[in-house]
């Protein structure tokens, strides 16, 4: 018995539908078809009328979700690919994100964004938009990297009274497996990072699919005798600065790894925080590793060179450890 990251997402939605009558799902092709990635497979049959197909109208999809949330519902919106959320951008950052601040009426929506690169998907089906949304006040932005987190954090998202941007990584959907789902009661709460691997020579702060590249890189460095500590952010807004600083205090070295474009983004925010708040903890310059500053290439040869990989991470780490 084992369960994938994608199945965890499906199970979380099933549980939410089962336990909370205010929950409904809205998205393109999610009803009978079960969604482009099958994240809602069979749910329309199990919960008739509560899993709704939407027209190709991302702006209206979000407006509808926001309106329903104002009326006390808890919609989960699936955007077919994160990249298409560019068309729902206005409703997300200007309507959903400001609603509670402006009116005191909460806007509990969960926006599922199938995110990140996969081979052959190209510039418009590969984007990681977490930093875009995290810039705006009023949104919570989650980036689960494990099967258990995909499950418990999606359940948390649905329970939260604020709009949550839930960035799922498509590369993890099918191949990432765990023996069973965790009991949500035993899971870390939203807003807490996890020390996935402890070490003493350097800290990698990362999230989503890059956690797994980082773990491989750490394996690699262990052969050279270096123990790398790895912090999985889990939530990028809010960021758990305390856990990061605690780790850097132990290791004195920080590499922040993200899959998004290099200008701005999570790695800049994390490095800037550590530089400002943990300057004295650092024994070497904090470093960043991001994707290259071009659109995400379609051909796998180019794509593999565009994103950070275990090998690239290991190389930067070696450079830092020589410092």
């Amino acid at each position: 018995m084992s369960i994938t990251y994608l199945e965890a997402i499906r199970e979380a939605q099933a549980l939410a539908l089962r336990s909370n009558p205010a929950v409904f799902l809205y998205g393109q092709d999610i009803a009978d078809f079960g969604g482009a990635f099958k994240a809602t497979k069979n749910l329309a049959a199990e919960f008739p009328g509560r899993v709704k197909d939407a027209p190709i109208s991302e702006d209206a999809m979000l407006g509808v979700a926001i309106g329903a949330a104002i009326e006390g519902m808890r919609p989960i919106v699936e955007i077919q690919f994160a990249d298409f959320s560019s068309l729902a951008f206005n409703q997300i950052v200007n309507q959903a994100a400001t609603h509670f601040w402006r009116t005191n009426v909460p806007c509990p929506i969960t926006v599922r964004l199938p995110s990140g690169g996969t081979a052959g998907s190209g510039p418009f089906h590969s984007q990681s938009m977490e930093a875009i949304y995290a810039h705006y006040p009023g949104l919570i932005v989650l980036t689960p990297a494990t099967v258990g987190d995909a499950y418990s954090m999606l359940l948390d998202s649905i329970d939260l009274d604020d709009p949550v941007i839930f960035c799922e990584h498509k590369l993890l959907y099918y191949h990432l497996k765990e023996p069973a789902l965790p009991d949500p009661k035993n899971c870390l709460p939203v807003g807490k990072a996890r020390i996935t691997r402890s070490g003493k020579h350097a800290t990698i702060v990362t999230y989503s699919a890059m956690l797994h590249e980082s773990l491989s890189a750490a394996d690699e460095l262990l052969k050279d005798g270096y123990e790398i500590e790895i912090v999985d952010l889990r939530s990028i807004k809010p960021i758990d600065t305390d856990t990061i600083l605690g780790s850097v205090a132990r290791t004195g070295r920080l590499l922040c790894v993200g899959e998004a474009f290099p200008w701005g983004g999570v790695t800049a925010e994390v490095v800037a925080r550590v530089a400002a708040e943990g300057f004295h903890l650092l024994d070497a310059p904090p470093q960043r590793l991001n994707a290259k500053d071009t659109p995400i290439p379609y051909h796998p040869n180019l794509w593999a060179a565009h994103r950070p990989t275990a090998r690239a991470i290991a190389e930067v780490l070696r450079g830092m450890l020589r410092f």
Partner: protein
Amino acid sequence: MSEPTITTPQLEIARATATEQSLKDLFIDGYRWMLLARTLEDKIASLYHAGKIVGGVYLGRGQEAFSTALGMSLQHGRDIFAPLIRDQSGRLAFGEPLLDATRTYLGSVRGPMRGRDGNIHRGRPAEGIPAMISHLGAMISVVTGMLLGRRFRGIEGQVGAATIGDGGTSTGAFHEGMNTAAIEKLPLVIAAANNQYAYSTPNTSQFACADLADRAIGYGVEPHRVDGVDLYECLRVFSLAVERAREGHGPQLVVGKLLRLSGHGEHDDGSYVSKNLKDSLLGRDCIEVAQQRMINEEWATAVDLKAWEEEAREKVREAVSCAQQEPKPDPFSERWVNLASAWLIEGSSSHA
């Protein structure tokens, strides 16, 4: 503060059973809402020009009949009314307290937006008045979602109305919102006030169809056309449209033709508005048209009109002076809390 007495709509007007009496009452109530809105906005305008208003001022002059009729056709506490910048009179007719307006214009912290957002953006979503964002068209899908939410909760027979201008119909949000409401066959009424201009831009640079109501058929939506200057016609058409929506016929698009009788905002003299239009039937002042009808029909005397004007001035005076005496927002007592899940707000001050 006493407001005009009838605040719930009287749908009878559109029915064969309508009596002269109820019709007259309804019309008079409508007129008094229009008058109250106009009086308020005249006052706000003069306060603006005296530098007493926080933020911009955008008025509904010339659009009171259209907006009032919509507000009166809906039931406060039951239906949804999503106003835009020209809907002061619709807000009042629907049931928004006059003080909500003066408090936001004058910067009282007791206004519904508590100083966080301003004037025309004010709303009370929990009471069926969503708080507009500036981005035109964006409220249509929100009202659609509110209606869908109610349907999920088993509530039927409640109508949601969203207003839009001629310019706003060019937004993708208008298209997506109306289309989605039509697919779901929701009781949405879209009130499109074609006041001939979007800011300075005339209809000819905004669309190329003969009549905006021609859009309806392409969405499977029922069209209505109305002389937006005539309160009587507006009441008739809106009560019909609201009734059609309430009875399950899906979204209704009501297009009113009229003219904005001021600048886009009080900073704008509107000098670009064509003289031909001003001199045309569209350029009539709906308040005067309503007065004329009441006189002609002998529904009111010149003495009544004077009394109502005095009454409106008095209410406005009261609401303005109340708001003026109230405290302004204070950055130190402001909690700066932007999440309902307050424990997730980052406490660290060094990056803020």
